[in-house]
């Protein structure tokens, strides 16, 4: 296996967030929702190593708790995108007739609905936004990218000799798709998952910032940025930490995607 600096750094950063999320289930220095007016707006110091916010909430504990939602949103959104997009893309690359065209046109239409607009529609229809509407919206909007990369990769595989051999030996179509094509397009899907994961985190942060995602009691990094807005000019510390962690996580996902691409196949194309 080739070595890749991007892969190492990217995997470490994403790993760090995973560790933070895991740790938060067993240990947090303070209750992330415990209001303590006596110790509000403290600079980083012991025992509040990242300081406290305008309600006296411990920022480090909230960063830990926020890592959970961050990962949850990424996993669910990428899960929806891959579970819907990959089979459709595979069939679109494999099948003949009207279906591939239909899938591609549908992907183009979904593409015109970015996560934010979908989330706004769902929030408006529902009466309020929530983490669930945000995740569903982000997931749906990531479907077209998965369709495109899965189809492009399938098209590269589908005319190779071993597929032809399988076809001539009357192997059922779904066996060809599952046993021959899917393993061959898996690397591309993995790279896309990593890129989409980063985009999902960016989208959730934007939704939280607009007040369209988590309710105030749920701790997310985007929500922390939203709350920090009124204190930006006096206490930039409040915005520094969530902003830093969002950027590092997304950077990690992008580098992980680059690294995977370098290691698995340098010719892979990315779709954002």
């Amino acid at each position: 296996m080739k070595r890749s600096l991007s892969l190492t750094i990217g995997a470490s950063l994403v790993g760090l967030v995973a560790v933070l999320a895991l740790v938060s289930f067993f240990w947090m220095p303070f209750d992330p929702n415990h209001v303590d007016p006596a110790s509000r707006l403290l600079p980083p110091s012991w025992p509040h190593i990242m300081g406290t916010d305008h309600l006296g909430l411990d920022i480090f504990s909230r960063i830990l708790a926020g890592a959970r939602i961050c990962l949850l949103v990424g996993v669910i959104a990428v899960g929806i995108g891959a579970l819907v997009g990959v089979p459709l893309g595979l069939i679109a690359g494999f099948a003949k007739g009207w279906f591939p065209k239909f899938v591609l046109r549908t992907a183009d239409i979904i593409y015109a609905f970015p996560a934010l607009l979908l989330a706004i529609l769902l929030a408006a229809a529902n009466g309020h936004g929530s983490v669930v509407t945000a995740m569903v919206a982000i997931g749906i909007s990531s479907v077209p990218a998965f369709i495109r990369v899965a189809r492009a990769a399938t098209l590269q595989v589908v005319n190779q000799d071993f597929i032809l051999a399988a076809r001539t030996s009357a192997t059922p179509k779904y066996t060809i798709a599952l046993q021959h094509i899917l393993p061959n397009i898996a690397p591309v899907v993995l790279v896309q998952s990593s890129v989409s994961f980063g985009l999902a985190i960016l989208a959730e942060a934007a939704l939280s910032y607009l007040g369209l995602s988590a309710p105030p009691t749920t701790v997310t990094w985007g929500r922390m940025l939203f709350d920090a807005q009124s204190y930006l000019f006096s206490d930039a510390n409040l915005a520094l930490w969530p902003g830093l962690f969002i950027a590092l996580t997304v950077l990690g996902c992008n580098l992980l995607g680059d690294g995977l691409r370098e290691v698995l196949d340098p010719r892979l194309q990315e779709v954002r």
């Binding site: 046109r105 183009d108 239409i109 593409y111 015109a112 609905f113 970015p114 996560a115 934010l116 607009l117 706004i120 529609l121 769902l122 929030a123 408006a124 229809a125 529902n126 009466g127 936004g129 980063g198 960016l202 942060a205 934007a206 910032y209 607009l210 007040g211 369209l212 940025l225 807005q229 930006l232 000019f233 930039a236 915005a239 902003g243 969002i246 950027a247 590092l248 997304v250 950077l251 992008n254 580098l255 779709v271 954002r272």
Partner: protein
Amino acid sequence: MSVVRVLASRVGVFAISLLVASLAVFCVVNALPGDVAGTILGTNATPQAIAELRAQLGLDRPLPLRYIEWLGGMFRGDFGVSAFTYEPIGALIRPRLAVTCWLVFLSVGLAVTLAIPVGKYAALRRKKFTGQLVSVVSQFGMAVPAFLMGIILSLVFAVRLGWLPANGYTPLLVDPLDWARRLVLPCTALALVQGAVLVRYVRNAFIDVLQEDYFRTARSVGWPLRAAVNRHGMRNAALQVVTVLGLQLATLFVGAIVIEKVFVIPGLGSLLIDAVAKRDLPIVQGVVMLLVALILIINAAVDVLYVLIDPRLKSDTEGVDV
């Protein structure tokens, strides 16, 4: 296939996409449970009052009829009226559409003007420290949400240094100088994030050209490096930029919506976010449809542009009477 036939089929696809998208918007807003009349009157309203208001707003009529009326109205520029103030939505949208378009197009322009020279520099120096530094910085740029970039810029240039206003908007025709001053920070925030993505693609496009046979030939017959890069690299880079911008368009409009919130700019984004907060469904429905239509239109335009500038597609059509 001749260019005309390609273009005609693109237009057809575009019209169908628009129709399907409008159906999707209408269904999500209207088919889910919950009702504008109930929201307006609050929890204490009697069923009779709700029924009266529903009739007054036209909500008691069958959905397909309302869909067709809504669709037909939009063709005439009539987006219906706000559920709360009864203002015509078309009149609310028009001045704000201009604001958002300025924001998006100026940002794209700035991003492209930044990304092409920077990407070219990074490609030519790709094995030197400075070239790699550009790549690292662009990786960081891609990881920062546009609204965070906006917050950082306004913190530094408006609050600490006081060089530019932190928020607000002045129409171009009222005071061009103030208009420009107020757009600098939001456009820069959007352009930096967008430009970071573009730099990567421009860099790769130039690197691809540097390894081509025709580039080596140009150099070996005595073309200076700069001339050869500009002659051959620019076209490849331009093609990449158009493709990526097409793919990123939705992201750009969304970025503009969030940036409007950061800098308190009265564009479509702030209209939309306010409407969601008040649950003014007709406005949400109209503005979302308008943005989706804009994305589809520009997407179709990028497709057409691609047909026109890609030499491979053009060579197919040579000799055909267009």
